[in-house]
Amino acid sequence: MSMINYASREINCKLVYYGPGLGGKTTNLEHIYGKVSPNTRGKMISLATETERTLFFDFLPVDLGTIRGFKTRFHLYTVPGQVYYNASRKLILKGVDGIVFVGDSQIERMEANVESMQNLYDNMSEYGYDLTKIPFIIQYNKRDLPNAAPIRDLQASLNPGWPIEDGAQQKVTPDPMHAGENLIERVDNQWIGRAPYLEAVAVRGDGVFDTLKTVSKLVLKTLS
């Protein structure tokens, strides 16, 4: 739920990093925290257990610049990835403007990825939000590991596409980040749409800012 404050001339938006446990959601935020100038970011809050597993959420506010004289302020949140924290995970989705699903590329984590994606769909629909209609991107993290699954396998499991019913949207839309691939296309006589995806190695910072930029841009464009 973006909030526009005409008095302080600010646009506030909420981004949530979702995904399975130990997939790198907190690492994404830590990298952003470490790289962004202290003038443009606030304090990072982590509600974690003694073993540094996220218990409730991590929170980091960042200013991304000024548009039309309005400061664009993004509040980044992560959710606890572990399955049994669903009650608190769901709370963080309240009022979300954009979502990054941080998938763990390791073959062994495929099932955890799928379970978390399903959980995301379920939690969103319980709030009455439609994941296919809000800014939503997927980050395939840990691409440097030897046991990383091929992108096409990850795409097939986590981003197979949803049906596009609206005639106005039924046109081939190329994926600007991957030549030769489409975000909207016709497959077996049916129009389907997919979420944009990126590859990342969050511990090294690879792909972290590209992810943030991609999702923030989508969020701001929904306001235009």
């Binding site: 841009k217 701001l220 306001l223």
Partner: protein, 162 residues
């Protein structure tokens, strides 16, 4: 609903909100009042400027309130319309406003919880009215999206992200 709708308020709304909060602080002798939306964004601060990171404080407040909302449901209550956190010297009183915003009051030994609660009740009623009018004015109630502010600003958005 495709996603969470956005909302906005004008300088006039802001002024009204601030006046109500100032009057409340005067009557209750509390130190500071903050308004935080349910998504964790700080809407307004009135009174002694807080000595802590207000943005982080706002996000924790919203999480605290949401968690308590769920606890209320678990024990068969619809909601806890207000919460109190009482410390040795500093205390907090939190109350729901129009189901969209949380009033957070910081107070110390210069006043009492009873007075804060009593005056808080009136303040919440007045703020409820302001917010409801604000939402009605936009047309379709609290979920009406703010359109047009960034209309045609695609170039600027693209430039922002290089």
């Amino acid at each position: 609903m495709a996603g969470a709708a956005s909302w906005s308020f004008s300088e006039n709304d802001f002024k009204q909100i601030q006046q109500h909060l100032q009057a409340f602080l005067r009557d209750s002798n509390a130190r500071c009042a903050l308004l935080v939306d349910r998504a964790g964004q700080l809407v307004a601060t009135v009174g002694e400027p807080p000595q802590f990171d207000a943005t982080a404080f706002a996000s924790l407040t919203a999480a605290d309130f949401s968690a308590n909302d769920q606890l209320a449901k678990m024990i068969g209550e619809n909601e806890f319309a207000s919460l109190v956190h009482q410390g040795e010297k500093e205390s907090m009183f939190l109350a729901d406003v129009a189901k969209r915003v949380i009033l957070v009051v910081l107070f110390d030994q210069r006043t009492t919880l009873g007075l804060v609660k009593l005056k808080g009740k009136g303040a919440v009623e007045r703020l409820n009215k302001v917010f409801e009018e604000m939402f009605n004015r936009v047309g379709a109630g609290p979920t009406a999206p703010e359109k047009g502010l960034l209309e045609g600003a695609e170039d600027e958005i693209d430039k922002l992200f290089g």
